[in-house]
């Protein structure tokens, strides 16, 4: 609220997230959708943001549930679950 971009679940990461989101959204519309992307850009912002998130996931105890879900529905399979159907 107040802010136009969604917050991070960890308040200490919200600013880093906004920097990353800004970069990503631009890349998505201007490069990716137009087939001009040479790589997933924004790596600098990404690194800062994801480092913050990683430690917050551990701190807030979300990691175990997340890892279980990642095992059940792997990223590599596009999130297709082995349990659903």
């Amino acid at each position: 609220m107040g802010n136009v971009m969604s917050a991070s679940f960890a308040p200490e990461c919200t600013e880093l997230k906004h920097e990353y989101d800004n970069c990503f959204n631009q890349w998505y519309s201007e490069k990716f959708l137009k087939g001009l992307s040479m790589e997933n850009e924004c790596s600098k912002q990404w690194y800062a943001y994801t480092t913050c998130v990683e430690s917050a996931l551990v701190k807030q105890g979300i990691k175990p549930a997340l890892e279980a879900a990642q095992k059940e529905a792997p990223f590599e399979n596009g999130g297709e679950s082995s349990e659903s159907k």
Binding site: M1, Y20, G35, N40, T50, L66, A73, G79, S81, E83
Partner: protein, 229 residues
């Protein structure tokens, strides 16, 4: 297990819809989504396929008959994997609740594809599979029923919110970067909302139900009866 299905059409191009997808939250309609985080994101070698893993944090009020059982905690998490495939012009999102998933699971799949006959329209298909793993049948059914109802409510809310975002976006598609803020402010999501609310309720319910049900059996029964209407 219950199934929920929904099909809709957005009067916007697929490109517009997928760009707006990243900016859905926060918006005025889906206030229960309080945070969205990207956990992993990869572009494949052909540079036409983008896979993202997101963590969606929700807060939603639970029905009275459940608060008695689950207490006041109402934060839940959903994990979502999305794939944007430029070669097939398909955006697929698969999500599932993380919180209390041993008690209740909501698997949702959403797909956005261009209308075959009109490039300015996008088809939206949504399917959710809701399963409660509770041992107490009645409780189980109630939870499933409630989840399905809540899913439907949130689905229409999500459509409404997303529509308003898309409207904004399309007005100035050429200047979309400036619109990002406005968009995010308005976009709503269907899936996430549902999952979050459902999960936290169900899970905690089951956790505490064994002992609580025996202690408060009369109150619970009354709550269930009230809830029927």
């Amino acid at each position: 297990m219950r199934l929920f299905q929904n099909t809709q059409e957005f009067p916007y191009s697929w490109e517009q819809v997928t760009a707006a997808n990243w900016r859905k939250y926060p918006n005025e309609v889906s206030t229960h989504v309080v945070a969205v985080d990207v956990l992993r994101r990869e572009l494949d070698e052909s540079r036409t396929k983008l896979t993202s893993e997101r963590l969606i944090t929700c807060k939603q009020s639970v029905p009275k008959w459940l608060t008695m059982l689950i207490g006041s905690s109402n934060v839940s998490y959903i994990r979502e994997i999305s794939v944007v495939d430029l070669s097939t012009k398909t955006l697929t999102l698969k999500s599932c609740n993380l919180t209390f998933s041993h008690l209740l699971k909501v698997y949702e799949t959403v797909q956005y594809t261009p209308d075959q006959f009109d490039a300015n329209k996008t088809l939206f298909r949504q399917e959710a599979q809701i399963t409660a793993y509770a041992t107490i049948n009645t409780l189980c059914n109630k939870i499933e029923e409630w989840s399905v109802k809540r899913f439907g409510e949130n689905a229409s809310k999500g459509r409404e919110g997303f529509d308003s975002v898309l409207q904004l976006l399309s007005k100035n598609w050429g200047e979309r970067e400036k619109l990002v803020d406005e968009l995010s402010h308005k976009v709503a999501d269907t899936v996430d909302e549902i999952c979050s609310s459902t999960d936290s309720l169900l899970k905690e319910t089951e956790l505490k139900s064994t002992s609580l049900i025996s202690r408060y059996s009369r109150e619970i029964q009354r709550a269930f009866n009230l809830n029927k209407n």
